[in-house]
């Protein structure tokens, strides 16, 4: 049986959630049935994703031939050191958020819609994993659409909480469609240039053509901008704050930790595997345009985060800034830079997911959305606040947390290229992160709880989040600390393997 998973696991982790999503959509409105189904599916997917990762480590890169056709005629799934960890990351985050989902969805979605809601959630999971594991450029687009369309729906479901979710979802829909369109136009040009859709094949042909003609350049531009929109590269991030702020809590946490990450993975793939930094136009664009936008975005979005009154919008803008870190790692075009970028991708997924889960728990108990309402949370929800604090430290980059590891790696990479200004920007953005996260924690710890949180005897009533919510939150907080203390050894190896696959030549 396990040998079957070793040979078919790559397809299994996409197909299982897809088909189970379809079945889930038909489930009767029995309490917890749909949730339980989705959770079991997610756990299975995570387990198999782990087997796939293990297989990849054992045997190296391998492909799965869909329909039994050899690439480039058929579609193949290509697993290597870059995408296997990300597939596992997505699956694991799905498990975390789904554990949490039961109470959260119970309060935010009416009962008869829960089955389709979980179906859409599973579709999003399947779409994200599908676009990560595939080795075919057009197939990427297909699964990008699967995940996007289910995501638009999920975001709009936040209207039960706040009507602004509808316009946020619409905005996301329009911009996401522009991004997907740009991406598919780019694929079209690449197809016209190379005559194949298989990424490994494209790589070989483009390398033979030494970067190809203008068609390849235009394709490059469209792919870069399209993916840039999807991964919220500054200044194409305008869809993100609204989508993160108003969607259901569990959706926000899942999106924040996976959606932009999967798009970022595609950027790695296209910039380094399909195209190659040895082409002049790729190297120059990455060095000047992507790095420039990354750096401006880090500062600009951090400042925007600083002036928000809504806690989730603050974190959303912070996500844009963090994407800047990862793009900076790409713009460095060096193995070290990619290691830093990849590490930060994984760490940020863990941290941001956990932070949004904690904010969701605060809404669940007290309806908190604004920072000023977080007053006294240290007393009313001590465990949630503690998890939030640990994760916030990690976001800031305090030593012994996940964020520190990756930020140091990025800074070292920048130093290696002599980009001192980039180090300065990393530091400034970290200090800004300290300010906007510190602001929340100040309120949570030092402001007295409002009168309505007091019991009749005038004492603060403790209203901790339910156990199902606490488990994933605390789990992610502990994970971030573990990464910071010991886990970086293992993760660094994973990132280095990924960076070596992406940049076999070691960069510029």
């Amino acid at each position: 049986m396990s040998s079957w998973f070793i040979s078919h696991g790559a397809a299994f982790i996409v197909i299982l959630p897809l088909l189970m999503a379809v079945i889930t959509a038909l489930l009767p409105a029995v309490r917890r049935l749909a949730w339980f189904t989705a959770l079991i599916v997610a756990v299975l997917v995570a387990l198999v994703a782990f087997i796939v990762l293990q297989t990849q480590i054992d045997v190296g890169a391998f492909i799965y031939r869909m329909g039994g056709w050899e690439p480039p005629h058929g579609i193949s799934l290509a697993i290597d050191a870059v995408n296997a960890p990300i597939a596992l990351l997505i699956a694991a985050m799905a498990v975390f958020t789904l554990i949490y989902a039961e109470p959260a969805v119970d309060s935010e979605v009416q009962r008869k819609k829960r089955a389709p809601f979980y179906a859409a959630f599973l579709l999003a999971v399947a779409g994200l994993i599908g676009m990560v594991v595939t080795g075919d450029a057009f197939n990427v687009f297909v699964f990008l659409e699967v995940s996007s369309i289910s995501t638009y729906t999920l975001v709009a479901m936040g209207a039960n909480r706040d009507r602004r979710a509808l316009s946020a979802a619409f905005n996301y829909l329009i911009l996401g469609s522009i991004g997907a369109t740009f991406f598919v136009i780019g694929i079209g040009f690449l197809y016209a240039e190379t005559g194949t859709l298989n990424m490994a094949d494209m790589q070989g042909i483009l390398a033979n053509l030494d970067g190809g003609s203008r068609a390849a350049q235009v394709g490059f531009g469209f792919v870069l901008v399209g993916l840039g929109l999807k991964l919220a590269m500054f200044p194409l991030h305008t869809w993100l704050p609204g989508a993160y702020a108003y969607s259901p809590t569990v959706v926000t946490a899942f999106l924040a930790s996976t959606a932009t990450k999967a798009a970022l993975y595609l950027l790695y793939r296209f910039m380094f595997t399909v195209f190659d930094p040895s082409f002049d136009y790729v190297a120059v664009t990455l060095t000047y345009v992507v790095t420039g936008l990354a750096v401006i975005g880090m500062i600009f979005a951090s400042l925007q985060a600083l002036f928000q009154t809504d806690a989730r919008r603050t974190l959303a803008y912070s996500s844009v800034a963090q994407v800047g870190y990862m793009l900076l790692g790409i713009g460095l075009i060096s193995t070290l830079g990619l290691v830093g970028s990849y590490l930060h991708l994984i760490n940020h997924a863990v941290v941001k997911g956990g932070l949004f889960l904690s904010l969701g728990a605060m809404w669940y108990r007290f309806g908190i959305t604004r920072i000023s309402d977080m007053a006294g949370l240290a007393k009313t929800m001590p465990i949630t606040t503690a998890a939030f604090t640990v994760l916030a430290f990690s976001l800031i980059g305090v030593p012994f947390t996940a964020g520190f590891v990756s930020k140091v790696a990025l800074a070292e990479a920048a130093l290696e290229r002599g980009w001192y200004w980039a180090v300065a920007v990393i530091m400034i953005a970290s200090i800004l992160a300290l300010l906007y996260m510190g602001r929340m924690m100040m309120v949570a710890y030092f402001s007295p709880p409002p009168a309505s949180a007091m019991g009749e005897d005038g004492r603060v009533v403790r209203r901790e989040a339910p156990l199902l919510m606490l488990l994933p939150m605390v789990g992610l907080a502990v994970t971030s600390v573990l990464i910071g203390v010991r886990g970086n050894v293992y993760l660094a190896e994973v990132s280095e393997n990924a960076a070596r696959v992406l940049l076999p030549g070691g960069g510029l």
Binding site: I23, L26, R65, G68
Partner: protein, 164 residues
């Protein structure tokens, strides 16, 4: 070609009194036409292996026949003929049929969607596999198109005659 439009909210479905139906011609012709459209859809479906066509196109054409029915005879009539629960089930059934074909290929020891293993002769397997998945496509596309129409159409009183 601007058409004078007036906004007049209408309560309840409009049922023209017998004898004064201005759309008799429309109804009669469409009664002939709708079966033909459906038939054409199936032609497109099953001829897809030989000429242009396939599940997508056939599904849309089949959905158009239902939508046309709804436009002319009213949404409620259409919902009687093609009830919403069937739409919901059809949506999922199509995907399951498609994916199920792939899963069967899995169970028979091949890769996902490898139709060649379905039958002893790979060519037979390809033929039957393609037919199965095309039916799945047809089912889903038809159901979703109708679902779109139901969803939008149900939120709105019927279009008043004067507005056409």
């Amino acid at each position: 070609m601007t058409i004078p439009v007036k906004k007049k909210p209408v309560k309840g479905p409009v049922v023209s009194p017998a004898g004064s139906d201005p759309h008799v011609l429309l109804r009669v012709i469409s009664k002939f036409l709708i079966p033909l459209i459906a038939l054409f859809a199936f032609y497109v479906q099953f001829h897809g292996e030989y000429g242009p066509g396939g599940g997508f196109q056939a599904g849309v054409i089949l959905a158009v026949s239902v939508i046309l029915y709804a436009l002319i005879f009213g949404l409620n009539e259409a919902k009687r003929a093609f009830p919403p629960w069937l739409v919901r089930v059809g949506m999922t059934l199509g995907v399951l049929l498609y994916g199920g074909t792939g899963v069967v290929a899995w169970l028979m020891g091949g890769e996902f969607l490898n139709y060649s293993v379905l039958f002893p002769d790979p060519i037979d397997g390809q033929h039957y596999g393609i037919i199965a998945i095309e039916v799945g496509v047809l089912t889903t596309v038809t159901s979703v198109m109708i679902a779109f129409f139901y969803a939008f159409g149900s939120r709105q009183p019927q279009i008043e005659d004067g507005e056409w």
